[in-house]
Structures are given as C-alpha cells and as structure tokens.
Amino acid sequence: MRCPRFARVLTVLAAAAMVLAGCDATPAQTDQQPSGPPYTLRVLASAELGDLQGILDDAANATGVRVQLTPSTTLTIARDIADGKADQDYDAAWLASNRYLSIYPGAQAKIEESTLTMSSPVVLGVRTSVADQLGWREDTPVSWSDIARAAAAHQLTFGMSDPGSSNSGLSALVGVATAVAGDGAALQPPQVARAVPRLREFFDAQTLKSGSSKELADTYTRRPEQSVDALVEYESELLTLNRTGSLREPLRLIYPSDGVATADYTLNSLVSAPQAAKDAYARLSAYLRTDDIQGRIMRETHRRPISPHLLAQADFGVHQSFELPFPDRLDVVDDLVATYYGTLRKPARIVYVLDTSGSMAEDGRLDALKRALTSLTRAGASSGPGASFQTREQVTFVPFSSTVGTPSTFDVPETEPQAVLDQIYKYVQHLPAVGGTALYDALIEAYRTIDRQAAQDPDRITTVVLLTDGEWNKGSTPDAFDAFYRTLGPDIAAAPVFPIRYGDNSNAAMDHLATLTGGQVFDGRALPLTTIFPLIHGSQ
C-alpha cells in the first residue's frame, strides 16, 4: 500500500489511519509532519509528563507548536476544568486519565477534542529482597487482597501518592477497596464503608506519602531504601527508576492479578481555547501519534505506545493483567477520598524546629514565620491539601536560640479541631527572638522527641521541618549531629529533615542535612513561607 503525503486537513486521524493502513515507520513518514504557524500551546499537565520535554522540544521544531507545560495533578486538573478555572489560562489539558472528566459534573462539556497519546498501568514495585521473602515472582499472581494481607501482617511497607489529588494514589485505593468489598463490578457507594476495616490495615503499612506520582519516585530515591518496601506507581516510573542505576536494589513489578488501572494519557483541547490553539493542538496530537514519536515515547519514558505493532516490539513482561473496573460516580470517589483523609490515612507527625535567635528579628523574618504558621491554623479544611493542619495530626514545636526550648506538642483531634488550632495559634504568637543559634542541639532534641513519641504511638509518618536564618554557632557541632543521627534506629532515622533556606543560613549545611536524612531543601528566599509550609505539609 502506498503511504500518501497527508495534508494538514487530515490532522488527528491521519497518524492513526496510517498505522491502520499498514504505513509503519517508513523514512518517508518523518517528513510528513504537519507544520504550521508558530504557536505556544498552554497545557495543564499531570506532573510526570515533564519527562517528555525532549520530545516536546523536537515537536516545536517539527510542527511549530511550542508546548508550555504547567505541572499539576490529575484530579486537581479535572476539578479545575469542571470549575472553569482552566478556561482562561490554558488551551489544553493532558491528563493521566480522562476518567475524572466524566466524573466531575460539567468537565466533559469543556473538552473540544481528545487524543490518546500513550498508556501506563498503575502497579506495585517491590524491593527484590522483600518480594523474594513474600514469594512474589514476576509470574506469581498477586492480588490486591494479597497485598493488603502482607501489609496487615507487617511484611510489607509501601509508599503512595495522595489519592485526593493523584490518579496513581486513587487507583490503588480503588484497587484495594474493589478487591475486598466489590463483586467484580465498579464499586458502589455502600461498598466503600464495608471496605474500611481492611483498608485501614492496608494503610497502616504506608510509610511514604507524596503529593504526586512524580514526587513519590523522586522522594523514594532520597530515602534510606529499607524504610519503604514498595511503591504504588506507574509502570513507567518504576521501569525508569530501575534503569537509572541509582537504586541499591531493583524494584520487582507486581501487576495485581485482580486488576490494574491503566492511565491512558489523553491530550484534550478546551472548548474555550482560541482557534489558533485548536489548530496547533491538531498538529501536535498528530505528531505525537506518528510511529517515530510513539517509538521514542516508549524507549525514553517506558510508557506504552497506542499502536499494537509498536507495543509488540517492546518487552513489557509476561504477566496477564486485567483492568480494574474504575468507578465513574462522583459520590463513590468522594466517599473513598474522604474516608482516606478521615480514617485511613496514617496521620502525620510534624516536628517544626524553629530558630528564635536574635537575628530572626531582622527584616521581619520572625513575623513572616508567625504568619505562615498562623495561616495553617486558619485556612480551613477545604482550601486544598496542605493548606491547614489536618485532623489527627501531631504537631510539635522545638524552638531554639542559644539553648533548646522545651518541645511543645499539639494533637489535632479527629473532630472539632478548632480549639487545638487556637492553642497552636496562641503558642506561635508568643515565639520570642533573642540569643544565638544552637541548631544541632535543637535537631538532636527533635529526634529524641520523635523517639519518645514513636514509642507510644508508632503509626505515623514523621517529618522534621527546620527553619533557621543563620549559621550554627552554639552547642553541638555538625559532626556531632551526624554521629548522633547514625545511632538512631531505622524507624526514627526514617523521619527526613526538610530544611528551609532562609536569611543567611549556609546552603551547604542545609543540603547536607537533607541528603543525610532523605529530606529536601526548600528555598525560603525564592518562595514565601506561606507557600512553602503548605507544600511540605501537603505532601505528608
């Protein structure tokens, strides 16, 4: 069959049709990219799509369409589209899955055109040694029930992204809930309540949380590997992790035998976009579906191409994985997510190590700190993940200057949290600013506090936030802290330090603390604390 030169009028379907017509990647095809006037397409995208940057740069050369990706999370994007928040600022939305556009009322009507671009199922990546202990080989059928059982029996800890914002996290929640309470059909509202006891056992084994799948993979590589046995992640992210060579132990991919939820990355144009954007969208989506680019997506990002012929050339393993029936009802999804936040989620323990030395009085730094902490007590639960202290959280403040102050702990109750939030508010208002910087003494006290707290209440995900504006000049030395940290048991050492660059503190010292403990540095000079605290908080 002859493979013709398609004019741009054929756009989107051309690529698919050429595949169907048996026009595989012939050299002639590469010069058939539809091109047109330059256009910058504003695309709201699931965060993990940042790994396509190289391909998108080439797309700009070939088609004239430069893609400006704004990273977000799948559920957040779907909500923004439904609420009309995406209409003005974006031309297109590239989601891990369009299923949420069917769920949020009004979202589907905002979509002009949709193009499947690639796929990746959400699976479980288990450290090889742990998988061996559990007897889970590549070809062993392991169900979501088996996974929940291993977690309940303390044979498996895992990390997962936030199911309230991230498709991969919600896929796991749906998978386990369907396995324990479903009847093989998409989950119905009464079944969610029935699933709670088993879900709670499952989530007791969660030792790592993150806001998105991308962040989960990044965080995992920074943590001591023993602290997390497995990740609920896209197949593509796990294959990428395994190939970076940065893991001491590869992750074995387990495809839950009762069903995986596949993300079929769909690029959508918005009805509200201008005509030039819609033309650009058509050129870009046709380009992304050419065999050349589909092959590159497969090789560079380990996502599955849409063409069966290209997929047949790839090695994605031998497993047979069925597809999970994914609930398409808002009440079911809302119910699941609310249950997760309210009762399933392992509550956070956050220790704020706060510099109250004399220098914090300069440039209004202490006032900025107070404002940022105060906003966490005032935002209200509906302001988005991380915007406020959550119910069931345990918050401890370790203030320090020349010496370390007494740690103060606040337990935010499951119901009627406002009274405790008011106590936190009052505490924060009275923080002084005087004296030197006994930074490492304060960190040592923070980990001792965690040790005491964990002895009574171990089932929490713990984080240390360090805010200091100066160099250490009092008390224990950096080396003394390192030596102390290495004596900690693995459960306690698993709590990472998130240092915030602020005032004149030493970049090198902050980087070292983050690397040592598996944390991450935030830049308080580039971003206001009122932004950074919710970021750290929301990922817990």
């Binding site: 849409i306 012929h309 597809e323 994914f326």
Partner: protein, 380 residues
C-alpha cells in the same frame, strides 16, 4: 425485515432529497470521463463534525478532490456533536453513527441554533457486532451465550447474556474456566452511551429483548412494568465503570491490549471488516460475533447548507466512493444484497443479515427521542 428497512430508508431519505440521484447512478460508468474533464473544479472545504477512517483513505481523498471537496474532520462521538456550541457556523456536515443520532443532531440544530433546514442521508450502514477473542468465545459457549451459526459466524444470544448479568457472573465463576481467571464481571465493554452512538446501540438491543421483542416506545411504562429488567440493563452500563467517549479510541485500546483489558467490546461490523482488510495483524486472534438481536446503525450525514448538500449527494451517488466505502467495511445502501458475498471473496466471513434464512434478528430501533430517554434513565 431487513430488506423492508432498506427500502424504507431509500424511500424516506433519498427521494425527497435527491432529484438527480437515479440518473447519476445509471451513468456510474461515465465517472472517469467526467473526472478527467473536471480535474480543475474549485475545491470546497467541508468541515465535518464527527469522523471516520474512511475519509482518511487516500483513494477517498483523491476521489473527493476530483469532485471538488476536501474534508476537515473533527473527531467527536455522535452525541457529543449535538452539544457543539458552534455546530451551525463552524461545520458544514455532521457525520453521525446512526439515523437516530442524526435526528438528535437535527433537533439540536433546530432548538439550539434556530436551523430548521437540516436534512440527512444514510449512504452507508453497519450492523452492531461484538468483537472478542477465541478463549472468551469458548467460555461464552459454556454459558449458552455463544453459538455457531450455519454459515460459520458466531452468534451472541443477548437474552442469555442478560441472564448471566442478572446472576452477577464473574469470569472466574464460569465452570471449567482455566484460561481467563479474572474476578471482573462478564460484561460487554461499550463507549459511554450518553456521548457515543455505539454504546447507545447496546441500549437499543437490550431494551428490545427486555420488552419482549419490540422497541420501547414508552420509557416510563417500560420502567414501571419491568423494573427489574430496567435495573438489569442499567447495570450492564454502570457496572463497567468508567467508559471512553468515542468508538475509535475504544477500538484502538481493544486492539492494543487484547482480551486482558477488554474481553468483549461493542463495535460496528465495519470496524472489524476495515481492520481485517487494512491491518489484519492488528486484529490478531479477535473473533467477530453478532448479537441476536442486533441493530443496524446507519452512518448518516446531516447538512444545513449548499456545500453540505452537494457533498452528501456525492457520497450517496458516486460509484467509486460507494465501492471505497465497502473497502472500509460499510454496507452501501445501494448495494445491500451482494455485500456478504463480496466480503467472502476477500476472505472475510460475515453474517448475511439480508438473507431471510439468517438466524440473527435485526431489531428496529426505538425513535431517537425514546432512545435518548432510555440512555438518560438507564445509561449512567
């Protein structure tokens, strides 16, 4: 029944619309001469809401260009077309998966855009089928859902299927099933019937069966008289969970992921034939089944201006375009009888639904209004 339906369609659709049709058909052999003579006709761009792979076929593109048309397609499910806010101004033609969907679009043009001059024509049609895989056929046979007809095609008994759904049967519940150990319910995968015609066609089929072999023409009365059947039909859609919005993506993923993801899917017969003829490797071991009863979906074009009308006329009269439609698996309305034979000649075995001996019933569709109502009530 099928022949009557075709005749009726020809009378209803063609006669009021086309005056020169019969003449054009008779002079089909002159087409080449005319083409050479008219190679320089000015080309008009037809902006089409809805899409099919037919219009990307280079031979179709060439034939249309020789007759002065170039097509811009907007991929969109049949129901989604009716919701386009700029349908009247940004498009010339709507390409709907069925006559019903076309009526829905005509209603939308009238009610939302004040366009009262829209007309329609159905030059091609395709019966609804189920595409599945051999191991699944074997399981369905055990359950009395699948049986082989005399001409070797597979028949899918819808009433037996509905009974299995009533029992909430999962694949692993099927006795002796060692090949497909899925805990998922045994359900046909469809598109979202509120957005796409092919999903809605299953609604027409199931309600016809539940309504004792006649199309539902009073939805409220049907729900009242048969509440259990109504709930059962609803569950065939709701229990699937999330669905795609359009048939081509469903076909693409069905072909790519094989039976592990979609053990059986609702498609047009032309989807099977087209893939079988153009890209047999993609079809692999897929098996064609005819639901009994099935319905015929008429690929219907709606227009409301001169360019659209001229284009629609050409589609239904140009012999070359009609022959090319068959290449993509469409039954041409002007050629109902020899289609199955033509396909057999190309190595594609299909059921001859025009044959009075066929053991697959072709059910008439409910009216557009009633089907939309059924989908609203039971499709989500």
């Amino acid at each position: 029944m099928r022949t009557d339906a075709v005749l009726l369609a020809v009378v209803v659709v063609l006669v009021p619309v086309l005056l020169g049709t019969a003449a054009a058909l008779r002079r089909g052999g002159e087409a080449d001469v005319r083409r050479i003579g008219e190679a320089a006709v000015p080309v008009r761009t037809i902006r089409m809401a809805g899409d099919s792979e037919y219009f990307t076929d280079p031979d179709v593109v060439r034939e249309l260009e020789l007759n002065g048309f170039r097509i811009e397609q907007k991929p969109k499910g049949s129901v989604g077309i009716a919701d386009l806010s700029d349908l009247d101004t940004a498009y010339d033609v709507a390409n709907a998966g069925s006559d019903n969907a076309a009526d829905h679009i005509i209603t939308a043009l009238k009610e939302n855009h004040g366009v009262t001059t829209a007309s329609k024509i159905s030059p091609f049609s395709s019966p609804m089928v189920i595409i599945t895989y051999q191991p699944i056929v074997a399981l369905l046979e055990k359950e009395g859902i699948a049986r082989k007809s005399d001409n070797g095609t597979w028949v899918f008994e819808v009433s037996a299927y509905l009974e299995a759904v009533r029992q909430k049967k999962r694949w692993i519940d099927i006795q002796g099933n060692a090949v497909y150990r899925s805990t998922n319910r045994a359900l046909i995968s469809t598109t979202d019937p509120t957005l796409s015609n092919s999903g809605g066609m299953l609604m027409a089929i199931e309600t016809y069966v539940a309504n004792d072999g006649s199309p539902v023409n009073d939805v409220a009365a049907f729900q009242q008289a048969r509440p259990e059947s109504a709930q059962l039909i609803k569950s065939t859609f709701v229990d699937q969970g999330g669905k795609l919005w359009h048939t081509p993506p469903l076909l693409a993923l069905f072909l790519r992921d094989g039976m592990s993801r979609y053990p059986m899917g609702m498609f047009y017969e032309k989807d099977y034939i087209n893939t079988k003829l153009q890209d047999p490797a993609a079809l692999g071991e897929a098996v064609l089944m005819y639901p009994n009863p099935t319905v015929i979906s008429d690929n219907t074009f709606v227009w409301w201006g001169q360019a659209g009308q001229d284009f629609a006329n050409l589609l239904s009269t140009d012999q070359k375009l009609i022959d090319l439609a068959e290449k993509h698996g469409y039954h041409a309305i002007t050629n109902p009888v020899r289609f199955a034979n033509d396909m057999a000649g190309k190595g594609v075995t299909i059921a001859n639904l025009d044959d009075s001996q066929t053991d697959v019933t072709v059910a008439p569709l409910p009216t557009e209004k009633k089907l939309t109502q059924l989908i609203t009530e039971l499709g989500k």
